[in-house]
């Protein structure tokens, strides 16, 4: 079978450890030319044994006294570098890589990347624009911040408030993300969510970037355009957003300098305001959610996990990684987007792709499953979607409109 040959390991190249279980990542690496090993909780063992997937068990809870143990295990195994797949494994990768690569700074760097408040301070120190932000330990802090932000904006009593955003310090993406507009809404925040990070709302255009970094240089930079935050994203972005590419690239260069990032992969979020100013939102040192890797593969034809390995592997050469990545935007065969489905009704019994969606030329697939429960849990904050619907086509503007239209449709009835 052809994939057997693809999976031939090159002994001159690095040996990577994947931190966390992701079938898409494992499957991609299994047909790549690097040796790899999966570091995942014990529940993954049976699957790995059954499918001959190299595996060491490890439970990623909080870093503790035993953290050195996994670093040493991997070192003994001959692993060159660890790649975090999830937010929760970023600090582990830092700790492990500081041992494997004999660079203690990597651990400190990972801690910065894991704490949203620290992260913003560091960015600010690096000369990057950020919104107003503060940590909150209780509800009073939130009310005070909401008032102060709106005073700063010269709002009078009775004017509608600008909202503020609350986020957990160390969670990925939209988990725990809330928008607060009035003091009344503060009461809805459960006690256990504190402490949180508060940010002023930036009335701009939010987008995300995926950047593969090798030897401190950006090797591939993708701009993911959001249509509605938490609902939909597509790549490559519209020319309207892509025209900021030079400024965005400059921002990312600032970012990797501020965080001292030599290799790997960053996934930051920005706002661009109407006057063209960029505001840093946050940055993650791991693959993005929302299947952006899959979208990139559909649009460009390269496997983003392979790119990840190349960017992390210290044995990757400049020529190798340059040859791997296509040229941004011009080499894309089309625009790939996806839409996160939330049931719109309170009671649902069946999954039904709307004919309007199904008949659209851009529609390709979905990963929605049939509803298990009939009652839909009320969304607090930005909940998790029930699955994604995928589209592919030529025109980014049509893609944007199409993704927007999906918000008005019922996928669960």
């Amino acid at each position: 079978m052809p994939e057997r040959e693809l999976g031939t390991r090159n002994p001159d190249k690095g040996y990577v450890a994947l931190l966390g279980w992701s079938l898409a990542a494992v499957e991609a690496l299994d047909r790549f030319d690097r040796r790899y090993i999966v570091v995942a909780p014990e529940w993954a063992e049976e699957y790995c044994v059954e499918h001959d997937i190299p595996y060491v068990p490890w439970n990623f809870e909080r870093l503790n006294d035993r953290s050195m143990e996994i670093a040493e295990t991997l070192q003994k195994e001959g692993v060159d570098v660890a790649i975090p797949l999830f937010e929760e494994t970023v600090e582990w990768a830092g700790a492990i890589n500081s041992v494997l690569l004999e660079d203690p700074r990597l651990y400190g760097q990972a801690m910065l990347l894991r704490d949203k408040a620290l992260m913003k301070r560091r960015a600010q120190l690096g000369g990057i624009r950020v919104g107003i932000f503060e940590e909150a330990h209780d509800r009073d802090d939130v009310i005070r911040f909401l008032k102060r932000v709106n005073q700063t904006l010269l709002k009078l009593d009775g004017d509608p408030n600008d909202p503020i955003h609350l986020k957990a310090f160390d969670k990925a993406g939209c988990l725990g993300h809330r928008v607060i507009r009035t003091p009344d809404e503060v009461d809805t925040i459960p006690e256990e969510e504190f402490p949180v990070l508060m940010e002023s709302h930036l009335d701009g255009w939010e987008f995300a970037v995926e950047a593969w970094v090798h030897n401190g240089k950006i090797k591939f930079l993708n701009i993911s355009e959001y249509v509605t935050l938490g609902y939909s994203v597509f790549v490559p972005a519209t020319p309207e957003l892509e025209r900021y590419r030079p400024q965005i690239t400059a921002q990312i260069e600032k970012l990797i300098k501020a965080f001292d990032i030599e290799f790997g992969f960053v996934h930051p979020e920005y706002f661009v305001t109407s006057d063209g100013e960029m505001y840093f939102g946050e940055v993650a040192y791991r693959p993005p959610g929302f299947k952006v890797f899959e979208l990139l593969e559909r649009a460009y034809g390269f496997n983003a996990y392979h790119g990840l390995v190349l960017a992390f592997d210290p044995k990757t050469t400049e020529e190798e990684i340059d040859a791997f990545f296509p040229r941004e935007v011009v080499d894309a065969s089309g625009v790939a987007g996806c839409f996160g489905v939330y049931p719109r009704r309170r009671v649902v019994s069946d999954l039904r792709i709307p004919e309007q969606t199904e008949d659209d030329d851009y529609y390709e697939s979905h990963d929605l499953s049939k509803p298990v429960e009939e009652t839909v849990t009320k969304r607090t904050a930005f909940g998790t979607h029930w699955g994604l619907v995928y589209f592919f086509g030529e025109d980014p503007y049509r893609m944007r409109d199409l993704l927007k239209q999906q918000e008005e449709l019922d996928f669960y009835v």
Binding site: L6, A24, E27, D30, D361, E364, S365, Y390
Partner: protein
């Protein structure tokens, strides 16, 4: 609406886009390692469905059949090995209402087509086999070619209903219609040779073919459809007086104008067609009613009776007349065949039968029974007449009982066995169920009422049954399940106690099983097989033919010899066939007994000495699928005389089939016992 050039262009462009998306999805799946392929399947399925919904989509998928298979679309699914697929399962898949199943099934057919056309040299499937498979699929799903989409289909299958129609048109265009018809006709004859009581499906198929043959747009080869004429004429235009299907009034006036010779000619014509095919023309029913006013001689002629039958008719003329008056109508024409065979069996000479039939004729049905009969068959003739017609069929065709699409093989088997062996008990059972809506049977001295027993094996009431089964099976099913529940906690298999109590005193009290209920593992195979020979094989049981039908359990396997489930059958006899091969002849309550059980074990229904409705296998092959049988413990036989090589050969069959991994979750299933 005429397609305009623009329309055609945009249609083609749309198909082009969808095909490009399919190609990319296939590529992505092909690149993926086996353990991750399932993550790429959804996109392939969506792309396939969208292509298949377009005009020309089927051809596009056909040309990608090899790429689809090699990418792994069929991997670890029921479609993984095309060489073991079964044509009769295609229809249910296509009508499953599950879009993914429909798409997989459609893709599987198009793969067959690519193989049949020689475009895809398949490693395990030959072009001839693929072609044969497809013509059987087309033959058994003829309605998908000729009939418009029904409302029910539309509601259930939605847009895939149209997809399936397009697929079939494409298949038929590529394979050709002639071969379909030949296979179809063979298939109909094969089913009819088993003489089922229920022939509605066959009748509607024949009707459709008759319509199709008269369609000037359909060009049929000269040779196609050998034997179809006989089938069509058995329903329409059987004799001179109804040659051109003139309608009942014309037919009736023609009969009135006939002399005795003409009527005799009509009578024997209908009788011949009936005994030839097992099908009865509605005109035949009308003739019979007409002949009531003529002579019993002509009546006997129209029923095609043997000497025994004629004797019964003449001796119980009044009863037979009354039975015809009440129950034989154009809508219940099939009961004529039942009546003829009932008379030929001579069971009217058994003392209780005649009075029991008089009771049946006068029976007041409970409202529940009336409602169920009316719901299933309509109200013409009235429910009582419908039930009498059903009784005639069941008494005339004990081996024509079928379980329908229900997991109630034990109940169907019991009805068949009583009709065969204890017909007056069957008549009693019908009265209890139809008049009282309650059946009480006894289990080890304790009464069990069907009314008090909560649930049976079947979770819903069956509707696709003959009139007698329709009323009696729900009661039997609950009682059977209750008997099982009363055995809970006893060690071993409950059939040891349930079978004799449920079926009748003649069930052997000696009980043999080769599966350990606790573990599901095979146990004491050697002894089991020797005992079976000693009880049933004439060479080892003192040349004693089987006296009473005996319930038995078989492990049904599929055409790849993989275990499917436990199943209840009746052993009828063991005897040498015309080639002198010792065979076991048995009754299978499945609607079609001709099944391929894999590893060369193919159940035969005709051509090996079978009587109508019997299934048969060579003795050793039968023994290899048997897991439960009953025998009289006092009749020892000569188990030690069975040659070791015979036992070894049978064990070989077992090991290559259901005994292979003995069994997945076997203990539970064995505990539950035969379910269907």
């Amino acid at each position: 609406m005429e397609p305009t050039v623009d329309n055609v262009n945009s249609e083609a462009a749309r198909l082009g886009k969808r095909v490009a998306s399919l190609d990319d999805a296939i590529r992505a799946m092909a690149e993926t390692r086996d353990f991750g392929k399932h993550t790429k399947l959804r996109r392939v399925l969506e792309a396939l469905r969208r292509v298949l919904l377009q005009q020309g989509g089927a051809a596009a998928v056909q040309s990608r059949a090899q790429a689809l298979e090699e990418a792994g679309v069929f991997l670890e699914t029921d479609w993984a090995s095309p060489e073991i697929l079964i044509p009769s399962l295609v229809g249910p898949s296509l009508h499953s209402g599950d879009a993914d199943t429909v798409v997989m099934e459609a893709a599987s057919e198009l793969r067959m087509l690519a193989v049949a056309r020689g475009d895809f040299a398949h490693p395990t499937l030959s072009a001839e086999d693929a072609r044969l498979f497809l013509s059987q699929v087309l033959a058994t799903n003829l309605e998908l070619l000729f009939a418009p989409i029904s409302e029910a289909e539309r509601a259930r299958d939605g847009r895939t209903a149209e997809l399936v129609r397009d697929l079939f048109r494409h298949l038929a265009d590529e394979i050709g219609y002639d071969s379909i018809l030949d296979n179809l006709v063979d298939e109909i004859w094969r089913i009819l040779r088993q003489r089922p009581i229920q022939v509605e499906d066959v009748q509607s198929l024949i009707t459709r073919i008759a319509v199709y043959r008269n369609d000037p747009d359909v060009a049929l080869g000269v040779s196609s459809g050998q034997g179809i004429d006989r089938l069509i004429t058995s329903l329409f235009g059987t004799t001179e007086a109804c040659r051109e299907d003139p309608g009942f009034d014309v037919f009736h006036s023609r009969l009135e104008a006939m002399d005795a010779g003409g009527l005799q000619y009509e009578a024997s014509g209908f009788a011949r067609a009936m005994h030839d095919t097992g099908l009865v023309s509605p005109y035949h029913a009308q003739l019979l009613r007409f002949l009531l006013r003529e002579s019993d001689y002509l009546l006997a002629e129209a029923l095609g009776l043997s000497d025994t039958g004629r004797n019964c008719l003449l001796r119980y003329s009044e009863l037979v007349h009354r039975l015809i008056e009440v129950s034989v109508h154009p809508q219940t024409a099939q009961s004529v065949y039942g009546l003829a065979l009932l008379l030929d069996r001579g069971i009217l000479h058994e003392p209780p039968i005649v009075p029991a039939l008089w009771r049946q004729l006068a029976l007041d049905l409970s409202p529940v029974a009336r409602d169920r009969l009316t719901a299933a068959f309509g109200d013409v003739p009235d429910p009582r007449a419908r039930l009498v017609a059903g009784v005639l069929s069941m008494l005339g065709q004990p081996l024509g009982v079928g379980q329908g699409d229900n997991p109630t093989c034990q109940s169907a088997r019991a009805l068949s066995m009583w009709s065969y062996n204890d017909p007056d008990y069957l008549l009693q059972m019908v009265v209890w169920a139809a008049r009282d809506d309650e059946v009480i049977m006894h289990f080890e001295g304790q009464p069990i009422s069907s009314k008090e027993s909560a649930s049976g094996v079947a979770s819903t009431l069956p509707t696709d049954l003959d009139p007698v089964s329709l009323l009696v099976v729900p009661h039997l099913d609950r009682i059977y399940a209750e008997m099982g529940r009363r055995c809970a906690g006893r060690p071993g298999d409950p059939h040891r106690w349930v079978n004799p109590e449920f079926h009748g005193w003649w069930t052997g009290r000696g009980f043999h099983i080769n599966v350990d209920v606790e573990t599901g593992n095979l146990v004491e195979l050697d002894d089991f097989l020797r005992q079976f020979h000693a009880s049933y094989h004439p060479s080892y049981n003192g040349e004693q033919p089987l006296i009473h039908p005996q319930p038995a359990g078989v492990a049904v396997t599929d055409s790849a010899a993989r275990y499917v489930g436990w199943h209840a059958i009746t052993i009828l006899r063991a005897a040498p066939d015309p080639q002198d091969v010792m065979r076991v002849y048995f009754f299978n309550p499945n609607n079609d007994s001709g099944q391929d059980w894999g590893d060369g074990v193919v159940v035969s229904t005709a051509g090996n000495g079978e009587r109508f409705g019997e299934a048969s296998l060579p003795f050793d092959q039968f023994a290899s699928r048997l897991y439960i049988f009953h025998a009289d413990p006092l009749e020892r036989g000569e188990p030690e005389r069975v040659p070791a090589e015979d036992i070894t050969r049978i064990i070989g069959y077992i090991e290559r089939s259901w005994g292979n991994d003995r069994l997945p979750a076997g203990s539970l299933q064995a505990l539950e016992g035969p379910r269907s």
